[in-house]
C-alpha cells in the first residue's frame, strides 16, 4: 500500500514538475513584443488598466496610432481606452468589444472602418498578436474560431508552446528580461506613441477594385457589433481615420455611410475633415501618410473629443479622484516618453 502511494506520489510529482517546466518554457518562448512588433502587447495591456472608460476605440492600427486618450482626458476629461492592434479584423473587433463588456460598459464605442475591407482571415502572425493577449473566455474562443488562417489550430492558442516552440533558437535578451515580468506598459491606454516625422511625398494611385463593395462577411460582423452596442445601450460611432494610404475608396465610403444611415449612427470620414482638424501630412505623419505621429494624434483627438462631447453629451470626469490619479500618472509617463522620443529623433 505504502509503495503504491509512493509510486502515485512520484508520478504526480513528475507530472507537476513537467507541467511547471512547460509553463516556464512557454513563458520564455512566447514573443514579448517589447522592442519589436510592440503592437503585440496591446491586447493584454487593456486588462492592466482598471479605471472605467466612457469611450472605447475599436479597430486596427488606425486607432492605436491616431488617437491619444491622454489628450482626450486632459482637454475634455473623457476617460478612454483603445482596443486596437495591428491588422485587427472585424471579428476580432467584435469579440474584443464583447470581452470588454464583461467588465465595463462605455458610453460610446468608436469603431474604425478600415478593416471592413477584409472579409477573410489575413495573417497568422497578426492573429496571434491580437489574440494571444486576450483573456480566456467565450469571447476569446469565438475570436479564435472566427478567423483562423489555413494551418492554424485552436490547440496552439490553448497551449501557445505548440506555436512558439521553435523560438528556442532565436531567444533574445528581452525574452529573459520579461520572462516572468510584465514591465511597464508599451502603450498609453492603448495608444502607441510615435514622434518621427516622415512627410507624405505623394498620393499613390489606388489599384482598381474588383468588387466595389465591402465584403458581405465584414458587413455582417459590423451588423453584429452594432447589435451588441444597442443591446448594451452604447452609442456606436463609425469613423474612418485620416490617412493617405491604404486608399479608402468612395464606394466603400458609400457602403459605410449607407449602413450608418440605416442604423441611425454617426459616421465620419476624417479624411474629408483634414482641414477642419488641422492635419498636415507633411508634419503629422510618422510613415508618409499611413499613420499619424503624436502631433497629428493630439490634433485629431482634440477635434474628435470636442465632437464627441457635443454629440454624445459626455461628462467631464476630471475631479474624480481615482481617475485624476490614474491619468496624472499616465500623463507623466506620456510626457516623459514623448520627450525621450523627440530628443531621440
Amino acid at each position: 500500500m505504502k509503495r503504491t502511494v509512493l509510486k502515485i506520489g512520484g508520478v504526480l510529482l513528475a507530472c507537476i514538475l513537467l507541467f511547471g517546466a512547460l509553463f516556464a518554457i512557454t513563458r520564455l518562448l512566447m514573443p514579448k513584443y517589447r522592442e519589436t512588433s510592440v503592437e503585440g502587447s496591446l491586447t493584454a495591456e487593456y486588462y492592466r488598466d482598471t479605471t472605467p472608460h466612457d469611450v472605447l476605440f475599436i479597430g486596427d492600427c488606425e486607432v492605436f496610432s491616431n488617437f491619444s486618450p491622454v489628450t482626450l482626458w486632459n482637454e475634455y476629461g473623457i476617460p478612454s481606452y483603445i482596443r486596437g492592434s495591428a491588422q485587427q479584423l472585424v471579428w476580432h473587433s467584435y469579440y474584443l468589444l464583447e470581452d470588454a463588456l464583461q467588465t465595463e460598459t462605455p458610453k460610446v464605442v468608436v469603431y474604425n472602418v478600415l478593416a471592413l475591407k477584409y472579409g477573410e482571415p489575413q495573417s497568422e502572425a497578426y492573429n496571434r498578436m491580437t489574440l494571444d493577449g486576450m483573456r480566456w473566455g467565450k469571447a476569446k474562443t469565438g475570436a479564435i474560431k472566427a478567423g483562423m488562417t489555413e494551418g492554424e489550430d485552436f490547440m496552439s492558442y490553448v497551449f501557445p508552446l505548440l506555436r512558439f516552440h521553435a523560438r528556442w533558437s532565436e531567444l533574445g535578451s528581452e525574452d529573459f528580461a520579461y520572462w516572468f515580468k510584465a514591465g511597464e506598459p508599451v502603450s498609453f491606454n492603448g495608444y502607441l506613441l510615435r514622434t518621427e516625422v516622415r512627410p507624405a511625398t505623394e498620393t499613390p494611385l489606388p489599384p482598381v477594385l474588383k468588387d466595389p463593395h465591402l465584403p458581405e462577411t465584414s458587413m455582417a460582423w459590423l451588423e453584429k457589433t452594432a447589435a451588441l452596442c444597442k443591446e448594451n445601450g452604447i452609442d456606436l460611432v463609425l469613423i474612418k481615420s485620416p490617412s493617405i494610404e491604404p486608399y479608402w475608396y468612395p464606394e466603400w465610403d458609400a457602403d459605410v455611410a449607407a449602413f450608418a444611415e440605416a442604423h441611425g449612427l454617426w459616421y465620419v470620414n476624417m479624411i474629408e475633415q483634414n482641414d477642419a482638424i488641422g492635419i498636415d501630412m507633411q508634419t503629422d505623419t510618422c510613415d508618409m501618410g499611413q499613420h499619424l505621429n503624436v502631433y497629428g494624434a493630439e490634433k485629431l483627438s482634440r477635434w474628435f473629443g470636442s465632437e464627441l462631447k457635443t454629440r454624445y453629451a459626455l461628462a467631464d470626469r476630471r475631479g474624480d479622484e481615482a481617475l485624476d490619479a490614474a491619468y496624472r500618472t499616465l500623463t507623466e509617463r506620456y510626457e516623459t516618453e514623448k520627450l525621450r522620443l523627440t530628443e531621440g529623433n
Binding site: 509510486k7 512520484g10 508520478v11 513528475a14 507530472c15 514538475l17 513537467l18 517546466a21 512547460l22 518554457i25 518562448l29 497568422e124 494551418g151 492554424e152 489550430d153 490547440m155 496552439s156 508552446l161 505548440l162 506555436r163 516552440h165 521553435a166 528556442w168 533558437s169 532565436e170
Partner: protein, 525 residues
C-alpha cells in the same frame, strides 16, 4: 489521419480506454470499428480496395480449406476402391483447382496494387512512346495498400500451403488486414503472428501501457526532432541537382541516411507502441541496421518484414521452382559452380528487382533494387578473396578499427545506392553520384552553402544532437532492450523518462504552424 495530427492523438485517446472498458469478447470488434474509422478518414476509394482484398482473400482461403477437406474425403473414400495412380490423379485435380483459385485471387489483389502503383507511369510511357492519349493520371496509391496487400497475400499463401488454417470469421480476417497502426508504413505482418493476437482478449497492464508510451514517444522524438528537420535540407538538395553537386551530394547522402532512419524507425516505433497499448506484439522491423558490416547483413536488419516476406513467398519458392531446377540441370555442362549459382543468382536478382519495384513506379527504384542485388552477389563472389585477405592479415581485420571501417563502408555504400531514391531520374542520380569525384568543391557546404537549405545552424545543431542520441541509444541497446532497463528502474523513473521525451519533442520538434510535420517517407511506397 496522420500519426502527427491532433486528430490521431484524439482518436487514440478515445480508443484505448474504450478498448479496455468494453467486455473482452468484443474488444476485437472495437478495434475493427477503429480500423474502419481510420480507413474511412483516408477516403472511400481506399476502403473499397481494402474490402475487395478482404473478401477475395477470405473467399480464396476458405475455398482452399474446402478443397483440402474434399480432397482428403475423396482420397480416403477412394482408398479401398481405386488404385494409387487414380488417387494421385484425383489429388492432382484438387491441387489444380486450388492453384486456379490462388492465381485468380493473386491476380485480383496484385492487379489492384499493380494498376494503382504503375497505372499512371504506364499511361505516361504509353503517351510518350506509343503516342496514345495519356491515361491513369488519377491513379494513386491508397493508404497502406502496399503493406496490407502483401500481408494478405502472405496469409493466402500460408493457407494455400496448409501452414495455417483459414480464418472462419471474415471480420476477424478484416481486422488483421486493416489493423490501423500498420497501414501507415507497415511492418508487413503474418497472420500466425499478429492475427491471433488481435483477436485474443486483453487485460489492461499499466507496465505495458507505459512501455508502449515510451516507444511511441521515442518514435515521435525521432520523427519530429530529427527526420522532419533533416528532410527540409534533403528536399532542398534533391530539388536542384544541377546546383548542388560534389560535396553537397556527399552531405545529402549522410543527411538522407539519418533522416530516413529516423523517419522509418520512428514510424515503426509508434506502430509497435500502439500495438502494445492493445496488448499486441507487432514484429520488429529493424535491428540496429547501421551497425551492419555488409549490405546483405544490412538487409537482414533493415525493413526486416519486407525482406522476410520476399524470402518466404518469392525467393524460396522461386529458387526451388521447376523452371529453376531445369535451368540448373541444363547449365551443368558449364560447371557445377555455375549450375549451383545460376538459379540462386537469378532468383536473387528477380527478388531485388521486385523489391525495387515495390517501392514505386519510377525507374530509379528498379535500378536501385537491381543494384542492391548486384552488390550482394558481388560480395558473395568475392568472399574467397576476402577470406584470403583476412587469413593474410589477421591482425588487421580483427580489431575494432576494421569493424568500424566495415560499418562505415556499408553506410556509404547503401547511402550511395539511396541517391536513386532522392532524385527524379536515374541519370540525375548517377550524375550526382559521380559529381562527388569530379566536382571539387569541398568546403563549399560549410562556406554558407548548408545554410541555403532551409535550416539554421540551430536546426542543424538540434538534428545533430538528435542523431547522437539515436546513436548512443543504439550502442546502449547492444546490452539489451533499453525500455526494459528503464522500466526495471520503476514506474517513477519510467514516467520521468517519458515526460522528458514529451518535453523535448514539444520544444525541439518541428510541428505546428509553419512546419510540415507530414506523412512518413515510407507511406508513399
Amino acid at each position: 489521419m496522420l500519426f502527427t495530427s491532433w486528430a490521431f492523438l484524439l482518436f487514440l485517446a478515445v480508443l484505448v480506454p474504450l478498448y479496455y472498458l468494453v467486455p473482452k469478447r468484443v474488444q476485437w470488434i472495437v478495434l475493427l470499428l477503429a480500423d474502419a474509422v481510420f480507413v474511412g478518414f483516408a477516403g472511400v476509394r481506399g476502403a473499397v480496395y481494402m474490402v475487395v482484398t478482404i473478401v477475395t482473400v477470405y473467399a480464396a482461403a476458405r475455398g482452399f480449406d474446402a478443397l483440402f477437406r474434399r480432397q482428403r474425403e475423396t482420397v480416403a473414400a477412394m482408398k479401398a476402391t481405386h488404385t494409387k495412380e487414380e488417387r494421385k490423379k484425383a489429388r492432382l485435380g484438387f491441387e489444380k483447382k486450388r492453384r486456379a483459385v490462388l492465381i485468380l485471387c493473386l491476380c485480383v489483389n496484385v492487379g489492384i496494387l499493380f494498376v494503382l502503383k504503375y497505372g499512371a507511369a504506364i499511361g505516361r510511357l504509353s503517351a510518350a512512346w506509343l503516342h496514345t492519349p495519356a491515361f491513369g493520371a488519377d491513379l494513386t496509391l491508397t493508404m497502406g495498400i502496399s503493406f496490407y496487400t502483401f500481408s494478405s497475400i502472405g496469409y493466402l499463401l500460408d493457407v494455400y500451403r496448409e501452414t495455417i488454417p483459414a480464418e472462419k470469421n471474415p471480420f476477424r480476417l478484416a481486422l488483421f488486414v486493416s489493423f490501423f497502426p500498420l497501414l501507415v508504413q507497415g511492418p508487413i505482418s503474418r497472420f500466425d503472428l499478429l492475427g491471433r493476437q488481435l483477436n485474443a482478449p486483453h487485460s489492461f497492464s499499466g507496465e505495458r501501457f507505459l512501455s508502449g508510451a515510451l516507444r511511441i514517444a521515442w518514435g515521435y522524438w525521432k520523427k519530429l526532432i530529427v527526420a522532419d528537420r533533416l528532410l527540409v535540407a534533403v528536399k532542398a538538395l534533391c530539388a536542384r541537382p544541377a546546383v548542388y553537386r560534389g560535396d553537397f551530394v556527399f552531405v545529402e547522402m549522410l543527411l538522407y541516411a539519418a533522416c530516413l532512419y529516423a523517419d522509418f524507425t520512428g514510424g515503426i516505433d509508434i506502430t509497435i507502441g500502439i500495438g502494445e497499448w492493445f496488448g499486441v506484439t507487432v514484429e520488429e522491423n529493424f535491428f540496429r541496421p547501421y551497425f551492419s558490416k555488409s549490405i546483405s547483413e544490412y538487409w537482414r536488419r533493415w525493413h526486416i518484414t519486407l525482406g522476410e516476406w520476399f524470402k518466404r513467398y518469392v525467393y524460396y519458392p522461386l529458387s526451388v521452382s521447376k523452371p529453376m531446377r531445369t535451368l540448373s540441370q541444363k547449365s551443368r555442362r558449364l560447371g557445377v559452380g555455375v549450375s549451383r549459382r545460376l538459379p540462386v543468382y537469378l532468383a536473387t536478382l528477380l527478388v531485388w528487382a521486385l523489391t525495387g519495384a515495390w517501392h514505386g513506379s519510377n525507374w530509379t527504384f528498379l535500378v536501385w533494387g537491381v543494384l542492391n542485388g548486384v552488390v550482394i552477389l558481388l560480395s558473395e563472389e568475392m568472399k574467397p578473396l576476402y577470406a584470403r585477405f583476412h587469413a593474410r592479415f589477421p591482425g588487421l581485420t580483427n580489431g575494432a578499427c576494421y569493424r568500424g571501417f566495415t560499418v562505415i563502408r556499408t553506410i556509404l555504400l547503401l547511402s550511395s545506392l539511396r541517391l536513386l531514391d532522392c532524385y527524379a531520374t536515374v541519370k540525375e542520380a548517377f550524375s550526382a553520384f559521380f559529381s562527388m569525384f569530379t566536382t571539387w568543391n569541398w568546403g563549399a557546404v560549410f562556406r554558407g552553402g548548408i545554410q541555403s537549405l532551409g535550416l539554421s545552424w540551430a536546426d542543424y545543431g538540434a538534428a545533430f544532437a538528435g542523431v547522437l542520441c539515436m546513436f548512443a541509444l543504439s550502442m546502449a541497446q547492444r546490452k539489451g532492450p533499453i525500455r526494459k532497463r528503464i522500466l526495471s528502474h520503476g514506474t517513477v523513473c519510467s514516467v520521468c523518462v517519458l515526460l522528458l521525451l514529451i518535453g523535448t519533442i514539444l520544444v525541439f520538434g518541428r510541428y505546428g504552424f509553419g512546419f510540415d510535420a507530414g506523412q512518413f517517407i515510407y507511406n508513399r511506397f
